[in-house]
Symmetry: none
């Protein structure tokens, strides 16, 4: 009985499933010449989900990816803007922003609204996000209207760094809060 050592079999197993993720455990036993129990222990150790889970993940990825890409311009409609002071934007969660199975908005869309607003509120030719400390307080759901309020807290008119605080609400409920540090260049100009 010339079995391969465990390590090598694990490598082979990963390789085989990488090449063809549609293989059942039973098909794997044929290729690796070990019992089905061994295959299952191996998958457990390697944290490889069962066939059906793999298919489901693939299906979800393809389904969601079609619906999650459009992130073109500024996210949300800016309804009020006082440069270097504060701003408000509105953003409605629609199909393409949510996880298909739960109807919960992907975090980066909510972030994108806040980030866009934080950048927009800074009155400078070049404003870039340097860092942010953010909190998703409760999930935003399909159909909900998010309104974000941004307040410039420091670095109002000078160059260097500005601090912007953003709060996002759905109705009375806060769904997101973030502290942004925005880099600003020297030139003060409007477009």
């Amino acid at each position: 009985m010339e079995r391969l050592p465990k390590r090598q079999r694990h490598q082979q197993l990963s390789r085989l499933l990488d090449e063809n993720p549609f293989l059942t455990d039973r098909e794997l036993t044929r290729q690796l010449k070990v019992s089905i129990q061994t295959i299952r222990l191996d998958r457990l150790e390697l944290a490889i989900p069962e066939l059906r889970e793999r298919l489901k993940l693939m299906a979800e990825r393809s389904y969601d990816s079609v619906r999650s890409l459009p992130l073109h311009e500024v996210i949300g409609d800016i309804v009020d803007l006082q440069l270097d002071k504060s701003g408000i934007s509105l953003f409605e969660i629609s199909e393409e922003h949510v996880f298909s199975r739960t109807g919960i908005a992907r975090g980066h869309h909510v972030f994108a609204q806040a980030n866009s607003l934080a950048v927009a509120v800074i009155n400078d030719e070049i404003a870039l996000t340097a860092s942010a400390d953010i909190r998703f307080i409760r999930p935003a759901r399909l159909g909900e209207k998010c309104f974000a309020k941004a307040y410039v807290r420091a670095g109002g008119e000078q160059k260097g760094k500005a601090k912007v605080e953003v709060f996002t609400y759905v109705g009375e409920e806060m769904v997101f809060q973030g502290n942004f540090v925005i880099y600003r260049s020297a030139g003060e100009s409007k477009t």
Copy 2:
């Protein structure tokens, strides 16, 4: 019972599955208020395959397209994924991601890549970003290929919260770094 219900139900059934192909027959009974046998007869008549076949078809379609198409326009093409351990995604900065005047990527796109990856790497039915602490180390520019690496640092297999660290590079240079706290649901649960 009126004469029409069947026709109408068939239309509704098609519509529901069109919107969300992940529905089981049992979930359909709740929405259509008929027995599971009726749902199955309906699927038979409409030649709609069972859930598992639908998932398999979707998976096959996406698998084929992943092999043929580069998938640039998605928020990162996941090229490696070890659930609950680590993951890698690639994202190329193109026109629609940058400030037109400067050619610098809007922060939320870089964030979106990292966030998508941090969520994808968590092996759970429902994984949502709870909070994040992020740093934009240097701007990413038009045409640059961002290479994000995620590592699950804590909360690997249990429910509750997981910590995921993400580093994004362009070549050797780090452009972004983020610490994400991902909320995860109670492992395998039925929908």
